[in-house]
């Protein structure tokens, strides 16, 4: 299985092309089943690879390369050939990611059978999903950073296409543009980092880079900092970290299964994964590591607070996603390589679950606004139960998955910096608070919109099946992966000495935090759980300024829109300058001068030159007539004569040297 791992990205790619090119748009088209079959195969293969790695039967990392192209280069007068190998590299993190991506993608495609049923662009949707998955898998397994970058851009394109899937509505069209442009801004940083990597390492092969970087003194701190910051900026765009997180809440305009796949479980995790993949560069620079940690922390805190006041169920989940990604980023920056990627894995399961659950709710009541929901638990028991499990998991209640990974992160952060630890714990408490707020507002209490409540119904089994499976995984994946140090054995990075202070976290840290989390849930129950919102309303009116700041997302959107508007104005000014000043003044006045000169010249021309020319013209006309009488209209002869003339000319040219 391992030696055929190249099939994993290529199979969905082929599938998507087949669906796109050969299938007809038709509500009964077999396109989804093709996509599902391909994804199931990839999933089976990934599981076999993962099992082989976990049981120790196959040795990771596994690498296979082919030469894509090679080119000649001159370095200091010495010429040699530089090969550009591409291939697959499967190490511990990749084997885990493969399982996560293929599983979530499979479940989302299954779920979409119900959710997207009857959409006029059904086939196209499945083609895009397969295309996205192929790009994402390519990103995961590539052994060449250049190919990783290409796949990185391709997931961006897929995300653009899927956010704007209902492009006839203004919201999705706007959101897709915003997402694309914001991530592109981040990609500039990544691109610069790639250039620096090429200049520094002379290769894009990750294994070769790792070997070089491990040599003492090969990678200077300054270079590592520059490269690391560039990668971080790119990752911040893709993983929606501060200050580039503005696009993710808007991206919720896309179909909900897409949000579950792309904007919760996989694509947004690509930034984290990339930082993990290039971790060997980051560890050479304290500044880069610190930047990663603080970016993650700021993101986790800011977006957790924004989620407190959102009423759109998908927006709450979007803010929560960004906040959790911040947790992972922060863990990576604090030297918690294993912890960050562990949280990435468990988060993929429970956040996909939460999104799919939210999709199920939206499918039932046809609104995103939680103020119009309430009391849905009785109508949709399965959705409620699974989402409740997901909420417990994300809040970090033992023994659910989130507890293990969040605990691991907090321990690492405690060892790194106490202030950061307290801030991050506060963010974790906020997480529990707003997630339970969401559950209470949606499922508990009285129905606030009788019409909608009356029509609500449980979703079909094709949608519930994935929910149940993901709920099961949210329950067991934390314990299962941590048990016996399995995850740590698979995904580990040996940090250099002295990078992170070795402070032991106090015993039972997790239990204290859990206690606080339970208290936070109680507070949430007090405010939103009992059909009595007076306290919440009074708080809202007392701190209205704070609320409006949060609702305006700290003005980050306004800031970026202002930036865009400013660029727009600069461009307009430049255009005005060009057309009014340069064109009018320089070009046109120069034109005037030349016109004058031309008129003068024409005068001279008419009087003196023309007459001479006319004389010659007449002469050559006469000569032409003479020649014509010699050379008749028979073309072949004429041509042959040209040849004869040319031959004579060449003869003269050669012999007269």
């Amino acid at each position: 299985m391992l030696e055929h791992a190249y099939l994993i990205p290529l199979l969905p790619l082929t599938t998507s092309l087949i669906i796109l090119l050969f299938f007809k748009e038709d509500s009964h088209s077999p396109a989804p089943y093709l996509g599902l079959a391909a994804m199931f195969w990839c999933f089976v293969q990934s599981v076999v690879i993962f099992y082989g790695a976990a049981s120790g039967a196959s040795a990771l990392p596994y690498e296979a390369n082919w030469t894509w192209f090679s080119f000649a280069a001159d370095v200091a007068g010495k010429g040699f050939t530089v090969p550009m190998p591409i291939g697959i590299l499967i190490d511990g993190p990749a084997s885990v990611m493969l399982v996560v991506v293929t599983l979530v993608s499979f479940l989302v495609q299954l779920y979409s059978l119900g959710y997207m049923h009857g959409d006029p662009r059904f086939k196209r949707y499945y083609a895009f999903l397969s295309f996205f998955t192929a790009s994402m898998l390519g990103l995961v397994v590539s052994s060449n950073l250049l190919v990783t970058f290409a796949c990185w851009e391709l997931v961006g394109v897929s995300s653009y296409l899927l956010i704007g899937f209902w492009f006839e509505k203004p919201g999705p069209a706007y959101a897709s543009k915003k997402a694309f442009m914001t991530t592109k801004l981040g990609d500039c940083g990544l691109y610069l980092a790639l250039l620096l990597i090429w200049a520094k390492f002379g290769t894009f092969n990750i294994t070769a880079m790792t070997v070089s970087a491990a040599m003492p003194g090969y990678l200077s701190t300054a270079a590592a900092t520059a490269i690391g910051l560039g990668i971080l900026f790119g990752a911040a765009g893709k993983s929606a970290q501060w200050p580039l997180f503005i696009w993710l809440p808007d991206a919720m305009e896309g179909p909900t299964p897409v949000s579950a796949l792309i904007h919760a479980a996989t694509m947004v995790a690509a930034g984290i994964y990339l930082v993990g993949k290039t971790y060997f560069i980051f560890v050479h620079s304290d500044i880069a590591m610190g930047a990663v940690a603080w970016t993650g922390l700021v993101t986790a805190l800011l977006t957790a607070t924004m989620a407190l006041v959102a009423y759109d169920i998908k927006r709450v989940l979007a803010f929560s996603t960004v906040s959790q990604l911040g947790f992972m980023m922060c863990a990576l920056g604090c030297g918690g390589y294993t912890a960050g990627l562990f949280h990435l894995t468990t988060h993929a399961f429970f956040k996909a679950l939460l999104f799919l659950g939210a999709g199920s709710v939206i499918h039932a009541v046809h609104t995103n606004d939680m103020r119009q929901m309430g009391g849905l638990a009785k109508k949709m028991p399965f959705t409620f139960a699974t989402m409740f499990i997901g909420t417990l998991a994300i809040s970090g209640i033992p023994p659910f998955a989130g507890y293990y990974s969040k605990d691991m992160i907090l321990e690492k952060v405690y060892a790194y910096n106490h202030v950061m630890f307290y801030l991050l714990t506060f963010a974790a408490l906020l997480t529990a608070f707003y997630m339970f707020r969401m559950v209470f507002l949606t499922f508990v209490g009285d129905d606030r919109d009788h019409e909608k409540h009356h029509h609500a119904h449980e979703s079909p089994w094709v949608m519930l099946g994935p929910l149940v499976l993901l709920a099961f995984l949210s329950f067991v994946s934390g314990f299962g992966l941590e048990h016996g140090g399995l995850f740590e054995r698979l995904v580990n990075f040996k940090l250099p000495e002295g990078l992170v202070p070795e402070t032991e976290a106090p015993a039972h840290l997790g239990l204290y935090v859990t206690g606080l989390v339970v208290a936070s849930i109680m507070l949430s129950w007090r405010l939103y759980g009992r059909n009595d919102f007076r306290l919440a309303e009074s708080l809202k009116s007392r701190f209205s300024i704070l609320f409006s700041v949060l609702e305006n997302r700290y003005g980050m959107d306004a800031l970026f829109l202002g930036l865009v508007a400013f660029c727009d104005r600069v461009a307009k000014f430049a255009f005005w300058f060009d057309s009014s000043v340069i064109d009018q003044f320089f070009v046109d006045s120069w034109g005037l001068v030349t016109t004058l000169l031309a008129e003068l010249s024409a005068l001279v021309d008419n009087i003196f030159v023309d007459r001479t020319v006319d004389g010659f013209g007449g002469l050559s006309m006469d000569a032409g007539v003479l020649l014509r009488s010699l050379v008749t209209h028979g073309q072949a002869q004429e041509y042959l004569m040209y040849i004869a003339v040319a031959v004579s000319l060449f003869t003269i040219l050669i012999l007269s040297r």
Binding site: A636, I654, L655
Partner: protein
């Protein structure tokens, strides 16, 4: 006759071609397609025979009395046979052809190919001349094969006149050469070149230049190409051209190296002239066959650049490799373009168009058959040298070799010409994608055309994206004997 056995694939092809000629007597005209099938199978068998000679150089390669069989010649022979196969496949789908004198047609085509195979192996002017005549006389008849079409007759007649003229020049050149050296052998020429010999070589060069359509010997090209049946046009625009370029390279860069006789400046002039005349004249054509004819003149000019680079004293082997590479790619892209042109023109003629090969016949092709329009666009972009298609790799290789050997001016002329060529190639694309079609009927593409097109397009795309295997095979084929 030393080592006559080395030429056994040529003899096999020649005798089987004669067999086809005889079998024409026994095959009814309505079964003419049978002979076409036979002919392309014969070509493939010969292709395989040559393939075997590559694997065992010790037995199957060497120098004979008048010939040398080496990797270089075998590469070109395989290309020629490939072109023959593709042209015969096109012929199967050409309405005017298979029912009329199929035996004669196929036999002549194979004869011409046999002539080219002799030409690329020849080391003696006598054999060169005879091979050239074999090609020419077969081609004259093939060009005029549509007897009821006045254009075909006109093209054939012009072709014949020019052929006779250039044969005369060449024969004169050979006699001068004989007078100077006392032999027609090109191997081991020891005399210092005097004016007599130089003049002789110049005439030989121009005689060969006629077949390769090098300016100023290109005047016959548009008329002959326009008049000939389209499969023959495709064949003539590729096979004789690359064979003659190979012969030029063998004579002027290997057997008479620059250290002995420096003709670099003349070749530079010819290359620049050929490219410029071809491209600038193509700009004004409204008939696609004529347009492609002038484009093929220009393409010969690009190949000449490689010849210049290879012939410069202290020259670069990359020049030779560049010519090999470009020839290979040229086969794919030019034949691909002609396949589409034939399909479209057949449909247009059936619809009663005044000029089935006019640009108007391509109006709205993208609406009618998107795949076909895309395929033609790929071929044209490749001819213009736009990445990531194969033509770009070929041009890059050739221009790079020119720059490496100090012919920067020539490379610049080549680049400017490439830019100019985009204009007229894209004019066809413009008609296909942006003009309104008269009918919405998709273009029917027969199975043999489809196969030929698939092979050509695969070559154009695959070797554009992943040229390594092609470059590797070209590098191993650049070996010469002696």
């Amino acid at each position: 006759m030393e080592h006559l056995n080395l030429l056994y694939p040529e003899f096999a092809l020649g005798s089987l071609a004669l067999g086809l000629l005889v079998s024409d007597l026994f095959v009814a005209p309505k079964h003419g397609r049978l002979l076409y099938h036979l002919a392309w199978i014969i070509s493939i068998v010969t292709l395989c025979l040559i393939g075997f000679t590559i694997s065992d150089g010790a037995h199957f390669q060497g120098v004979g009395t008048l010939w040398a069989v080496d990797p270089f010649s075998q590469f070109f022979k395989m290309l020629i046979l490939l072109t023959t196969v593709l042209s015969l496949l096109m012929g199967l789908e050409y309405r005017e052809l298979p029912s009329k004198h199929a035996g004669i047609f196929t036999s002549l085509l194979l004869m011409a190919s046999a002539g080219m195979m002799f030409l690329v192996s020849s080391t003696d002017l006598l054999l060169t001349f005879i091979a050239l005549e074999l090609i020419s006389i077969s081609s004259f008849i093939l060009t005029g094969f549509e007897r009821r079409n006045p254009k075909s007759n006109e093209g054939a007649l012009k072709y014949f006149l020019f052929g006779a003229f250039s044969s005369a020049i060449m024969a004169y050149g050979i006699s001068l050469f004989y007078g100077a050296t006392g032999s027609t052998r090109l191997l081991n020429v020891t005399q210092a070149p005097g004016p007599l010999m130089i003049l002789g070589l110049l005439f030989i060069l121009l005689g060969l230049g006629f077949k390769a359509s090098i300016a100023p010997m290109h005047f016959w090209v548009p008329d002959a190409y326009e008049g000939a049946p389209t499969p023959v046009t495709a064949y003539l625009s590729v096979a004789p051209k690359i064979a003659t370029i190979a012969a030029l390279m063998r004579i002027f860069t290997l057997m008479l190296p620059a250290s002995m006789l420096d003709l670099t400046s003349l070749f530079t002039l010819l290359a620049a002239l050929t490219m410029t005349i071809g491209n600038f004249t193509a700009m004004f054509q409204t008939n696609v066959k004529r347009l492609l004819a002038y484009s093929s003149v220009a393409q010969a000019g690009y190949m000449l650049i490689g010849l210049v680079a290879a012939g410069t004293s202290g020259g670069d082997v990359r020049g030779i490799e560049g010519v090999l590479l470009y020839s290979f790619i040229y086969v794919a892209m030019n034949i691909g373009a002609f396949v589409v042109v034939q399909a479209v023109a057949t449909e247009a003629a059936a619809a009663g168009a005044k000029d089935p090969y006019g640009l108007e016949a391509f109006n709205g092709l993208a609406r009618r058959s998107f795949g076909l329009a895309l395929a033609l666009t790929f071929c044209l972009l490749s001819l213009a040298g736009i990445p990531p298609l194969a033509g770009f790799i070929g041009k890059l290789y050739i221009f790079e070799s020119a720059v490496k050997t100090g012919h920067i001016g020539l490379a610049v002329v080549g680049l400017v010409n490439s830019v100019v060529s985009v204009y007229f190639y894209m004019r066809i694309a413009y008609h296909m994608f942006f003009k309104q079609a008269d009918s919405a009927e998709p273009i029917a593409l027969g199975p043999y055309l489809y196969g030929g097109l698939a092979v050509a397009i695969a070559g154009v795309i695959i070797f554009g994206i992943y040229p390594e295997p092609l470059i590797a095979s070209v590098q191993s084929s650049a070996g010469f004997l002696p």
